[in-house]
């Protein structure tokens, strides 16, 4: 009896340790199950989709998935969402490297790829994944033709092959403004920097807080800076300035870069809501929607959230006027959003392609892009959105990608430049740097220290 027990215990211990080692093997086995099921029984194949939480988009996705399952009853869509940003990146990595996902979204389009003039630059995750053969090549898929060729080229192509579908564009460099407050005081949308400052002064003199921003999360502070960077750096040619930084021709403490920091410091010091460094991103829309501030620095994607927070509010969106040249100021800076990749080694690549094909049908894409509030990346799509048609479209002529998308960072660069930002939160009174120049000098020093050996 006892002998038997000990044998069982020993066997148990052995299997346990084997099971622990066999993580990779397990996956292969479940993959085989799926294969077998397809041939014989009517068991459904699962398509695993990974995305982050954003209520309006999530709802549309569930709608699309339900329609997909109806059309292709042999598939079942498993749609998983995690928290946004870092939490999502972590899930992305874990699931993709474990071959446990078929379709995954990226937070923006594919850019930031190291160039020949950026020796030792940080290689972005997506590029490492493609180089390791984890992402499926979509070049030959018929559904790619449904999308705007220019957008696919700009945000989904790497080394001449298509790997991703960018599902929309968003404007990031604008300010939401409360139309009622503007009308009541006879104010107009400013077209130049001095008009903008004048507007802020008028609001202040009437006892209205001009600008709200969610400083606690830090990244929302980058949004108005994107406008300043795009219009000021390199005389309006960011790409030139960024290349110059790598080649040593421009610098983080040259006059243009300091002007960017100084203008943002002016806004932070004088016109932003008191205690803005304590406002978290989730509560920013309601601060604006309840009329506590006249303007809100936020991305165009938050328009549906603001409308939900106060359905009666009349609001518009205009680009932060960075310079004295009204014409130059009149366009948005932004990025591509929610970009779909299909996993090459996922459990169900075939299903993933089917799903992307289904998603690329104009009818289904319309459902998605309407809910998301994105600017469509497919031609001939009507979003029926006043906000997009009247507030965004007039400023889309010279739509440029934001600094955070264009900047190629050095590996291990310091915190004052990390995450492709300029981090104005380090400026006084919140931070320790009293002037824009001081921060700029630290940034340039960190940039040089991170140079490859």
């Amino acid at each position: 009896m006892v002998k038997k027990i000990s044998a069982i215990v020993l066997a148990g211990a052995l299997t346990l340790s084997l099971a622990a080692c066999g993580g990779g093997g397990n996956n292969a086995a479940s993959g085989n199950d799926a294969e077998g099921a397809k041939g014989s029984s009517g068991k459904k194949q699962v398509i695993k989709i990974l995305h982050w939480k954003q209520e309006n988009i999530n709802k549309a996705m569930e709608e699309i998935n339900a329609k997909f399952e109806e059309k292709y009853p042999e598939y079942k869509v498993e749609y998983t969402t995690t928290g946004p940003d870092d939490e999502y990146k972590q899930a992305q990595r874990a699931r993709l490297t474990a071959n446990d996902v078929d379709i995954l979204a990226d937070l923006s389009g594919m850019r930031l790829s190291p160039q020949e003039w950026t020796p030792g630059a940080k290689v972005p995750d997506w590029e490492q994944w493609i180089n390791s053969g984890l992402i499926a090549d979509l070049s030959d898929q018929a559904f790619i033709k449904n999308w705007n060729a220019n957008d696919i080229e700009k945000a989904g192509t790497y080394k001449g092959k298509v790997y991703a579908i960018p599902t929309g564009k968003v404007a990031m460099s604008g300010l939401f403004y409360n139309k009622e407050i503007f009308e009541e005081h006879g104010l107009e949308v400013p077209k130049t920097w001095s008009e903008f400052i004048e507007l802020n002064e008028t609001l202040k003199s009437k006892g209205i807080t001009p600008i709200g921003v969610a400083g606690k999360d830090v990244w929302p502070l980058k949004l108005p800076v994107f406008a300043l960077q795009a219009k000021i750096l390199g005389g309006g040619d960011q790409q030139k300035w960024i290349e110059g930084v790598w080649k040593g021709e421009t610098a983080f403490n040259d006059a243009e870069a300091i002007e960017v920091l100084e203008k943002m410091k002016t806004l932070q010091d004088n016109y932003m809501i008191e205690g803005f460094m304590g406002i978290d991103y989730a509560s920013a829309p309601s601060i604006f929607a309840t009329g506590k501030v006249a303007m809100l620095a936020d991305g165009s994607w938050d328009a549906p959230t603001i409308a939900t927070a106060n359905p009666d509010l009349k609001f518009g969106y205009f680009p932060v006027p960075a310079t004295e040249d009204a014409e130059k100021n009149a366009s948005f800076v932004g990025k591509y959003d929610v970009t779909w990749y299909a996993a090459e080694k996922g459990p169900n690549k075939e299903g993933a392609l089917k799903w992307l094909e289904f998603f690329s049908e104009p009818e289904n894409y319309t459902t998605f892009v309407k809910a998301a509030g994105f600017i469509p990346t497919m031609d001939g799509i009507s979003t029926d959105s006043d906000f997009i048609d009247n507030e965004l479209t007039p400023y889309l002529g010279d739509f440029e990608l934001a600094y955070e998308i264009m900047m190629i960072n050095r590996e291990n660069v310091g915190e004052h430049l990390a995450a492709e930002g300029v981090h104005t939160e380090y400026l006084a009174p919140g931070g320790v740097y009293k002037t824009a120049k001081e921060l700029a000098d630290v940034q340039q020093k960190e940039w040089e220290a991170a140079a490859p050996r």
Binding site: I5, A13, S17, D86, Q128, S132, K216, A449
Partner: protein, 297 residues
């Protein structure tokens, strides 16, 4: 002699121990050794990628690359965190434990109150204090304003955020230290105090010469737990400031670099090894010092 019987049955306990042993080897010892090995390579978190031995390059990068200034600040922060938490948490814990040991009315209630934050969990604690410390509408800021006419940014302040995190950490785990001290206090024989009373000792003397030496084992345990705990804390930082506003510690850096930095695994491995070595030094010194004081009775 053999509680499980004779013959083969004698080996049953050993066999049963094999299970935790195997689990320990697979899930703890193995990964630990791998971390040390990884810290000398350029391994990436991508299956099938190649791995090259790079010597001490990762360690060099840690302290000499563009963001090395932040590394030193993380280390300084970790040490500040450890010293303040260890001293204050145990000090307050001991004080409260001594008070509660006086058999005052409702001591069980107070015990529960002081221990409650430990049970709450980090997420809830961070949420509570996030609301208390809200710069716009939090009650603490109203209190500051009313008392001193001063307002603070709390978790969004470059100069104060770390202090508030230390406060929250102490608030949370103070009850834990208290409980261990309380257990130690209750094991001190009452007759020693009576003997002291006859000899005419006052309260302070009986604490200094009877209580203090006799609860030395509790001190050892508490010191050890709070040093290791404080050095490896990252959850409360993650939940309150997420490393912004000068609140990064080594443990947070390891987490950040491993799971949210680049796909490189070598650098965070090197960082964990450095962190381990620092903890080891402090634990060895602390245990030596406190063990010296333990007395037999």
């Amino acid at each position: 002699m053999y509680p499980f019987g004779k013959g083969m049955a004698r080996y049953l306990p050993l066999l049963l121990l094999l299970i935790p042993m195997a689990l320990y080897l697979v899930f703890y010892f193995g990964p630990s050794v791998m971390t040390v090995i990884y810290s000398f390579t350029d391994v990436k978190n991508i299956p099938g990628s190649t791995m090259k031995f790079v010597g001490l390059e990762n360690y060099y990068d840690l302290f000499y690359s563009g963001n090395s200034g932040e590394r030193w600040r993380s280390i300084t922060n970790t040490l500040i965190f450890m010293f303040v938490v260890t001293i204050v948490q145990n000090g307050v814990g001991l004080f409260v434990a001594v008070l509660l040991n006086q058999r005052l009315r409702g001591d069980y209630f107070y015990r529960a109150v002081f221990f409650l934050p430990v049970v709450l969990g980090v997420a809830v604690v961070a949420l509570i204090w996030g609301m208390m410390f809200d710069p716009m509408s939090g009650p603490v800021n109203m209190l500051y304003d009313w008392l001193f006419g001063y307002k603070d940014m709390f978790f969004a302040s470059f100069t104060h955020a770390f202090g508030y995190i230390i406060f929250v950490q102490i608030w949370m785990y103070m009850g834990y230290s208290m409980l261990i001290f309380l257990a130690g206090l209750q094991s001190v024989p009452k007759d020693l105090y009576e003997a002291g009373y006859i000899d005419g000792t006052n309260k302070w003397q009986s604490f200094r010469h009877i209580t203090f030496p006799l609860i030395a084992p509790s001190f050892t345990v508490n010191m050890l737990l709070s040093i290791i705990g404080a050095m490896s804390t990252f959850d409360i930082i993650l939940a309150t400031t997420d490393g912004r506003f000068n609140t990064r510690t080594m443990a947070y850096d390891v987490y950040k670099e491993t799971f949210r930095g680049s796909l490189e695994m070598g650098l965070p491995s090197a960082l964990s090894v450095v962190q381990f070595l620092i903890i080891l030094v402090f634990v060895v010194v602390a245990v030596r010092q406190t063990r010296k004081r333990e007395v037999e009775y």
